[in-house]
């Protein structure tokens, strides 16, 4: 194994350490429930997971490129992302839960917005998976900020790699959530098939995803946006 491969493996490992950080537990649960919700359409689950990985990779690579090229200062961008992203994440997740819980389309009557809400809530949603990947990637907590800004960025600078190593890191970050979502979706589909409830499983999976988004969104809003506890 060459030194370069060890470095790449190190970047993947930093990403895995990031994804299993306790502070990202809630966002990981939300991501897994979102990616796994289309239990009857395995192809859609795989595509959504791929889009989620692409979203995360895009966010981390772009951020690393901006830092390595000295367009943004590490302390300023790190502080801003840690301070504001979790504060905004709660309200965003609450709003995102509405179409998943069929609460938005009833309020919108008809038209393009309703159509969009239905697309986000049920079929398709690949763009939404990528957007979720970007959003969760940029939601740094102290531990993940230390891993990204304190370990990965120096590694990328030392190896003059503002693209490949952040890409490897993003794969490491996204790996656990995508693997779990694929396993859960496939297992849920098999359980539904065995009990002849496959068509009902997807409806429940969507409601569970909406419930998870709402619960995590309310918790983040009360804890970080309003700072009530």
């Amino acid at each position: 194994m060459t030194a370069w491969m060890w470095t790449a493996a190190g970047a993947v490992w930093l990403g895995i350490l990031t994804s299993v950080s306790p502070c990202l537990m809630a966002t990981n649960v939300a991501a897994i429930s979102f990616l796994a919700r289309k239990v009857n359409r395995r192809r859609d689950v795989l595509l959504s997971s791929a889009c989620y990985v692409i979203g995360q990779a895009l966010a981390f690579v772009l951020l690393a490129m901006l830092i390595v090229s000295s367009l943004v200062s590490v302390p300023i961008i790190s502080h801003a992302l840690q301070k504001y992203m979790f504060r905004l994440l709660g309200p965003i997740l609450i709003l995102a839960s509405l179409p998943l819980l069929n609460l938005l389309d009833v309020s919108l009557g008809s038209g393009r917005l309703k159509q969009w809400a239905q697309t986000w809530g049920s079929s398709g949603g690949l763009g939404a998976a990528a957007l979720l990947g970007i959003l969760f990637a940029m939601s740094f907590c102290p531990t993940t900020a230390a891993l990204f800004f304190g370990s990965l960025i120096p590694l990328a600078v030392a190896n003059e790699s503002s693209f490949f190593l952040p890409l490897m890191y993003a794969l490491g970050v996204a790996l656990p959530a995508t693997v779990f979502s694929i396993l859960i979706a496939f297992a849920a589909h098999e359980i539904g098939r065995v009990f002849h409830k496959a068509s009902q499983m997807e409806g429940w999976a969507r409601r569970i995803t909406g419930g998870v988004f709402l619960a995590v969104g309310l918790y983040f809003t009360l804890a970080y946006t309003l700072q009530l506890f």
Binding site: S78, T143, L226
Partner: protein, 168 residues
């Protein structure tokens, strides 16, 4: 009556949706107003770096905290504070050594982020003489060593000793 029940359900759903939208957007609005008010009204409570708190050379150990709590972060602070209180009690009581926990999410403390190049919670050791900061160091290895308490505490102890002008 099924038609009436359906209409009632639709109305309930609309009310819940409206309440959640108002709550979500209202929370963002509240956060923005609070942030703006804090920035306008706060006066720096903590002296800027380099201000000597006493008449003699002193070492300040900063623990830079934020609003976001985590288990590892609590260990970063408690292990460091425990080391200082256990191994440097005379220096602490004489004022030669000072411990300061500062929340950089508060607007009056944000200047520390750029002054010390902070990217997460951090322990910074600073030596101050005659009101001038002579040198400082961000102890960046804390995030690697925090999972090994004795090694973490030795790292803190050695750096504080070094800054106090003693052999580590």
């Amino acid at each position: 009556m099924p038609g009436g029940f359906r209409a009632d359900t639709m109305t309930t759903k609309r009310v819940i949706a409206a309440m959640l939208v108002v709550f979500a957007l209202g929370s963002v609005g509240f956060m923005a107003v609070r942030e703006s008010t804090q920035r306008e009204t706060t006066v720096p409570l903590e002296p800027s770096k380099g201000v000597d708190p006493g008449p003699f050379p002193s070492v300040i150990i900063y623990f830079f905290d934020s609003d976001k709590e985590c288990t590892t972060c609590s260990q970063l602070e408690s292990y460091a504070l425990e080391t200082i209180q256990r191994d440097f009690a005379p220096e602490l009581s004489s004022g030669k050594l000072q411990w300061r926990a500062i929340n950089v999410d508060q607007p009056q403390n944000e200047h520390y982020v750029t002054e010390y190049g902070l990217y997460s919670k951090a322990v910074v050791v600073s030596r101050v003489e005659n009101g001038q900061e002579m040198r400082w160091e961000n102890l960046e290895d804390i995030w690697e060593l925090v999972y090994d308490k004795p090694a973490y505490q030795e790292y803190i102890r050695a750096n504080v000793k070094d800054f106090l002008g003693e052999a580590p």
